[in-house]
């Protein structure tokens, strides 16, 4: 099928808006076409109804029956390290990185700038060298 990511029971998602931003969770049930019951026992998302647009879907899916209990979700997530996989999805990592960057202090930002200039200088000099030699 063209679409890989379906909204379905067991779909791993992460919350992009709302109270639990950046946390991963699993779809447990569908209320209607715009609301889902999600649960993230290991990531601290309590079992609740969220709107579809609060979520971003991942490629990962676990095998749970519709409307199953939190305990079962926890055990299924523990299998194959699914929990770590869902949390480690690139979307989530980007979000975490963004949050870290926003939380940098002034000195940290200075250090970041120094490191960036050094890296860029190295890259540019290498490119120049390669251009000259070709």
């Amino acid at each position: 099928m063209l679409y890989i990511r379906y909204i379905e029971v067991g779909r791993g998602c992460f919350v992009r808006r709302g109270a639990d931003v950046g946390k991963s969770c699993v779809v447990v049930d569908l209320v209607d076409q715009k609301h889902l019951l999600v649960d993230g026992p290991s990531s601290g998302v309590e079992r609740k109804v969220v709107r579809l647009n609060q979520l971003a879907l991942t490629d990962l899916k676990i095998n749970i029956p519709r409307g199953c209990r939190t305990k079962k979700i926890r055990t299924e997530l523990a299998k194959d390290g699914m929990e770590a996989k869902i949390a480690g999805v690139s979307l989530n990592r980007k979000h975490v990185a963004k949050a870290e960057k926003a939380a940098l202090g002034d000195f940290a930002r200075f250090k970041l700038r120094v490191a960036k200039t050094a890296t860029n200088r190295k890259i540019r000099s290498t490119v120049r060298k390669l251009k000259k030699s070709s």
């Binding site: 909204i7 569908l30 609740k48």
Partner: protein, 171 residues
């Protein structure tokens, strides 16, 4: 948001020792004060007792049973349209009675332009999936339900309002 409150009242102006009838109602209202008001409104219609002659014995907010289990609610409504009064049976899927009743009020306003004061929730019941009537509700009763998100448009932040390439809506 509506919250169901149980209100019990009895008549005052009674002779000492005389047993006054006690009435109990479940009212869906946004707060306590509105709940009391609606209680008297309904009670007046049903029994010959007014706020002046009555006394509220107890008002408690009812808690929602199983707030993480999705249920189908059948709501019997009576509402006043511009030309008359009508009964309706409506169905909603929600996690709580209060959520379903809130949905009902919003829905009635949207579909029938009915204002809250002209809506009376006569009865609300949890309905088993097999007994639901409305196709909108029945379509969710699929154990292997799945929805794609074709052409997903998320609200982009103001930063990227002009971009070189159109954003991908693939999910």
């Amino acid at each position: 948001n509506t919250s169901p409150t149980k209100i019990i009242s009895s008549g005052i102006n009674a002779e000492y020792g005389e047993k006054m009838p006690v009435y109990k109602m479940t009212i869906f209202a946004p707060d306590e004060i509105v709940a009391k008001s609606r209680f008297w409104y309904f009670l007046r219609q049903l029994k010959k007792v007014r706020k002046v002659n009555g006394e509220i014995l107890r008002q408690t907010e009812m808690s929602n049973t199983s707030p993480t289990k999705i249920k189908n609610f059948g709501i019997w409504v009576r509402y006043d349209s511009r030309s008359g009064s009508h009964n309706m049976y409506r169905e909603y899927r929600d996690v709580s009675r209060t959520g379903a009743v809130t949905q009902c009020y919003r829905d009635m306003a949207a579909r029938h332009r009915a204002r809250p004061h002209s809506i009376q929730i006569m009865k609300i019941e949890t309905v088993k999936a097999a007994d639901t009537k409305r196709p909108v509700i029945k379509q969710m009763h699929d154990s292997k339900i799945k929805l794609p998100l074709p052409h997903r448009i998320l609200k982009y932040n103001k930063k990227s309002i002009f971009v070189a390439d159109r954003p991908s809506t693939m999910q």
